[in-house]
């Protein structure tokens, strides 16, 4: 079945939109998993910034201070004054051993941002430490609330986490898994589409690169190096 074009949220990352057959579904929840340095924040930022350039206001909820977040981003075409143009940034303190009640308050904040009507794209980067010690039921409940709010308000939401729990993966409409492939002393960032709109995705792994022109993907070459 071909979805009407207006129901898709173009990420603005050309290669990713091709892989996702046009983009993410509007009003959906996407989980980006991956370890430290794998590019989760950069991908989140690309999603919001490209949306802003298409007149779709974004909200970034980050677990580290705005200035520190900015330092993590790779050099891009946007100048210093315009890095967060069109993006509302708020930070939240992510503590270890968060109690379910505190997590629920945090989810309230995310839902409030989604339901405010001010943004078409929302990114939460990241919930990793927060959910690590919580029971799966609490995480599942929180994710469901976010998903419902996103669907109701037609807001496309992206959440990053480390090793995503079953609850996070099951709740998501789309799952992008980032990784690092060692190459000599360095590493290449990789990306897989584990799930998208419930459909089967090609099993190829892609190399993800961030540069001045933005994020780009190419297929990881198969075959051994020897």
């Amino acid at each position: 079945m071909v979805r009407p074009a207006k129901r898709l949220c173009t990420t603005g990352i050309e290669d990713l939109d091709l892989l996702l057959h046009g983009g993410l579904t509007r009003g959906s929840l996407t989980v980006i998993t991956g370890g430290m340095g794998s590019g989760r924040s950069s991908l989140c930022y690309e999603f919001l910034r490209r949306g802003s350039s298409m007149e779709e206001a974004g909200a970034l909820m980050t677990s580290i201070a705005k200035k520190l977040y900015e330092q993590r981003l790779p050099p891009c075409e946007f100048n210093e004054d315009e890095v967060f143009k069109g993006i509302t940034v708020s930070d939240f303190v992510s503590e270890d051993h968060v109690e379910p009640e505190s997590f629920s308050t945090f989810i309230d904040g995310v839902v409030k941002t989604i339901r405010s009507g001010s943004h078409k794209r929302v990114a939460v980067d990241s919930m990793e430490q927060m959910v690590e010690w919580l029971p799966e039921s609490a995480v599942a409940m929180g994710m469901r609330r976010i998903q419902e709010a996103a669907f109701d308000e037609d807001v496309t939401v992206v959440i990053t986490c480390g090793m995503a729990s079953t609850a996070e993966l099951q709740a998501a409409d789309c799952v992008l898994a980032l990784g690092m492939k060692p190459v000599g002393p360095d590493a290449m960032r990789t990306m897989e589409v584990l799930r998208c709109r419930g459909g089967m995705q090609p099993l190829s792994v892609y190399v993800l690169s961030f540069g001045k022109e933005g994020a780009m993907l190419t297929r990881l070459m198969e075959g051994s190096d020897e």
Binding site: G184, V207, E213, M216, T218, E222, D225, E226
Partner: protein, 184 residues
């Protein structure tokens, strides 16, 4: 190679449709063919992207300067300078090694996106590709490149130095390219 012979390279390229071309030459003609492909780009005012897996940036620029062949119109993707620790000018795109084929593809893609219209892409050379990568990875790389080139009407010239023992028989290259041009 005489001047007359040298002018046949851009002429042959001019007469070829966009697509994947293999240019097969004898090792002695390598630098002249290199001049010819660069000249094709400048004569047609076509954005030219060159992937160098044989020579470092400085070696290539110095050689072309001595041969009085301008390179100002060429976007160079240098895969050798890091490996051989050669100095860089900072005006090219650099890939750490000819084995990082994904990075080469991304560098080509950035070059294409930064250009107006169809590009002329030169890969120097299949011999170096095969030397640094397995046959499987080389074929995967060429497959991805082929699809990319064909989708948008670019022209790609894959340089091949014919040697008796290189295992790259011309019939094999004829399978992967749209057309093989033999420079004699």
């Amino acid at each position: 190679m005489s001047d007359e012979q040298l002018s046949t390279v851009p002429q042959m390229l001019e007469e070829s449709d966009p697509g994947f071309l293999t240019l097969t030459m004898q090792p002695d003609d390598y630098y002249d063919v290199l001049r010819g492909v660069m000249r094709h780009g400048s004569q047609n005012d076509t954005p030219t992207i060159m992937v160098s897996m044989s020579l470092s940036e400085m070696a290539l620029r110095n050689t072309m300067e001595k041969l009085e062949e301008p390179m100002g119109h060429v976007q160079l993707i240098d895969c050798m300078s890091e490996m051989v620790m050669s100095p860089k000018t900072g005006t090219s795109r650099y890939v750490e090694s000819p084995r990082l084929l994904e990075m080469v593809l991304l560098a080509i893609e950035r070059g294409i996106r930064g250009s107006d219209g169809p590009c002329f892409i030169i890969i120097d050379s299949i011999n170096s590709l095969i030397m640094h990568n397995s046959r499987e990875r080389t074929m995967a790389f060429l497959e991805v490149l082929y699809n990319r080139v064909n989708l948008a009407g670019h022209k790609l010239a894959l340089l091949h130095l014919a040697k008796d023992d290189d295992g790259l028989s011309i019939p094999n290259l004829r399978l992967i390219s749209d057309r093989t041009l033999v420079i004699e």
